[in-house]
Symmetry: C2
Subunit: 256 residues, 2 copies
């Protein structure tokens, strides 16, 4: 199988012109098949504020009422996604911006209301990877916005990490997939106060040991659990690194 | 060659939930290959107003400064386009929303400043129809937003009639194209005060006669001139009708 690299970057990187330009340049240098998944939360909050709509977050997740759904549809599907697509085309990458509704590539269901009503937030139920794989095979580079749809006419706000993970799992039927999550550090750190203490390789055994020892804690635990879930579902490798290091070997490589 | 129908609808139709729903239902009933091209000017003006950005129009065209470009990118490329795509998917149409930057399918150049500085408005220079034709051949229904790009990283605001006409011309190499412009009347009228006086068929000779007689005047003249240009460039037929009549035979059929 051919290789495919899926890069997920957060909002901050893609929302500032200088860091976006650097990211697109680094991304364009990755050889072979690739996919870019982006966030955009800061821009959504900024536009919402300008429109007099309050951003409400619970556990780091955005509450998406009807007005906020319009904002994220505009910002993620329009502003951020299309600026990335235009920026990539300018440097020779044949980008195609997609929400889950486009080509019906990712269907979700509105999250059931339990303790929290997240509103128009989607939990992914189905990924139609075949048409994506076909496009990728033709040299097209999908740029995935953090939006899905319920196939009943409603767009749904969906976490970009989840989009990246679900796309990676579904595409692993067609490619040897490396899924790369970019965040502000160079990788998973042995010592949170030492940015250079990157754990180079992480296995399930080592992960359990580090969690037991308290070396890995907090929000990194669900991130890594999701990574192992992706690996168990067929993804070849997950890498956690910083966006400006995607074309290097620096970062934490996670394998089974 | 297979047939392809390209429907262009204005903003008003797609911006009101009820008329949008009716349009998508009518559109979904058209058999065979199809493309939908949409406007969105009213929504753009409304969002701009909410953001404190003034909409300036000259000769019916929007002046697009940097802030307005962000608004139209959000509204045309995000809000309007993705709501249409999600709505079509819900009724079994495999829609794919596109700006000119996506797949680099339509490249334009920023309009030179003459009497008026229109700002970030694009004049179409190149249409890469092959990849569109390929997708259409696979049952995909492109939904085209009125945005192009200069292939240097900039999105450009582009009139939806122009997008429809340029797409029709380029796709006529692959399909027998019928281009259908929807507006508020049932067709080109013999008597502007009689909505039923639709001219059923219009040839270049008849057009010249009607213009000389003053029957056809005003904004309809450039619209029809563009139609004849499209026909001269290979489009098989242009139809001018009302959006709720696209699945009927009512309207003005224009042929060479």
């Amino acid at each position: 199988m051919e290789k495919l690299i899926i890069i997920k970057v957060g909002g901050k990187i893609v929302e500032e012109p200088q860091s976006l330009k650097q990211l697109l340049s680094d991304f364009s240098k990755l050889e072979g098949n690739k996919v870019l998944v982006h966030g955009g939360g800061r821009s959504a909050s900024a536009i919402a504020t300008q429109l007099g709509i309050e951003s409400k977050m619970v556990n780091g997740r955005r509450i998406t009422d009807e007005n906020m759904l319009k904002v994220v549809t505009m910002v993620y599907g329009g502003l951020v996604n299309k600026q990335i697509v235009a920026g990539l085309q300018a440097i020779g990458v044949n980008a195609l911006g997609l929400t889950g509704a486009d080509l019906n590539y990712m269907r979700s269901e509105k999250r059931p209301v339990k303790d929290v009503d997240y509103g128009f937030v989607g939990d992914v139920k189905e990924v139609n990877a075949e048409i994506l794989a076909d496009l990728i095979g033709k040299g097209v580079v999908p740029v995935l916005a953090p939006l899905t749809h319920d196939n009943a006419g409603n767009l749904l706000n969906t976490n970009a990490d989840t989009i990246a993970g679900e796309a990676a799992k579904a595409l692993s039927r067609y490619f040897d997939v490396t899924l790369m999550y970019c965040f502000e550090k160079k990788g998973v750190l042995l010592d949170e106060n030492d940015d250079e203490s990157v754990i180079a390789n992480l296995s399930p055994e080592l992960f359990e040991k580090y969690v037991a020892d308290g070396v890995i804690n907090g929000g990194m635990i669900p991130k890594l659990e999701n990574s192992f879930e992706a690996l168990n579902a067929g993804v070849k490798q997950v890498v956690i690194t910083r966006a400006n290091l995607i074309h290097t070997e620096v970062g934490t490589k996670i394998k089974l």
